[in-house]
Symmetry: C2
Subunit: 196 residues, 2 copies
Amino acid sequence: MAAIDFFYEFASTYSYITAMRIAPLAHAAGVTVRWRPFLLGPIFKAQGWDTSPFNLYPAKGRYMVRDCERQCAALGIAFHIPEPFPQHTLLAARVATIAMTEGWGEDFSRAVYRAQFAEHRNIGEPPVIDAIVRKLGRDSSAALARAQADDIKQSLRTTTEEAQRVGIFGAPSFVARGELFWGNDRLEQALAFAST
Amino acid sequence: MAAIDFFYEFASTYSYITAMRIAPLAHAAGVTVRWRPFLLGPIFKAQGWDTSPFNLYPAKGRYMVRDCERQCAALGIAFHIPEPFPQHTLLAARVATIAMTEGWGEDFSRAVYRAQFAEHRNIGEPPVIDAIVRKLGRDSSAALARAQADDIKQSLRTTTEEAQRVGIFGAPSFVARGELFWGNDRLEQALAFAST
């Protein structure tokens, strides 16, 4: 079956938009999606950035907010820019790494995005992640403890290194049949490419 | 009649793609396009860049080339990355500024883009611009002389300042009913917004 890798960073506004719309589109295209939570921080750091380019370049940041407002309004989903921006996503990404192996990774990821961009919650705070996991009916104490285990830390690190190796420099990014596609705007093209 | 401003920089790969497809799309949407050649150099310089971000961030640069190849293949237009990249565009932008007031600005702009991205010519060289103007049946000596006149230099500077004032940080950009849209990917949305 046709497949794509969907690389996403929890702090990324455009990754939020993709996460909210990828499942039905992929289903309609007959494409399986491998959800790949990773961290943009180390990739930004490697090119000399210590925060989001939307903070480093204010004109681009202001435009991004307006653009996301328009894109989300057209899709009928909520959007506000979180405070602080970007949020700390290490814990969310580690829990997502666990959840992906246990079958609740997609639901968890969407819930984290909703909490951040629709419900004004700070996903950098462990109680917020704890509440999300509980609401999904999962053992949150176990998940939050396991998030500190070496193999989980290493697994997330490996995904981030793979992202860097295939040339990823932003999120969301898609890999379909060895080709890289960057940005929520390229989702349809990546799905079409995967299924040909 | 509905209208949009199309801000473009001659060195910009995605501006090339827009320039090649905007006319029929705008016509179909019933939208008038004001072609606004400007310079990205001063805007990049103001945010600390001395060359294209595609050179400063090589992973992004490599991706851009592949993405433009795919987008252009889908549109049936040629694409190669020019050497050097980015090219010097001051003369082309000044001649375009003149040409816009004389009714041959669109044809000149498309010819400059074709020369650079389809015909392997260096648009930073005055003889290349001279040949383009001649081929359009215009008085090239007059145009190249006038390109050094103070009012033309100032007119281009004014457009670039306007671009910066409305929040433009890259090209192509569109302004429709006071709203900014960035990137070739937003052309359809800008046209739809202009005509509602």
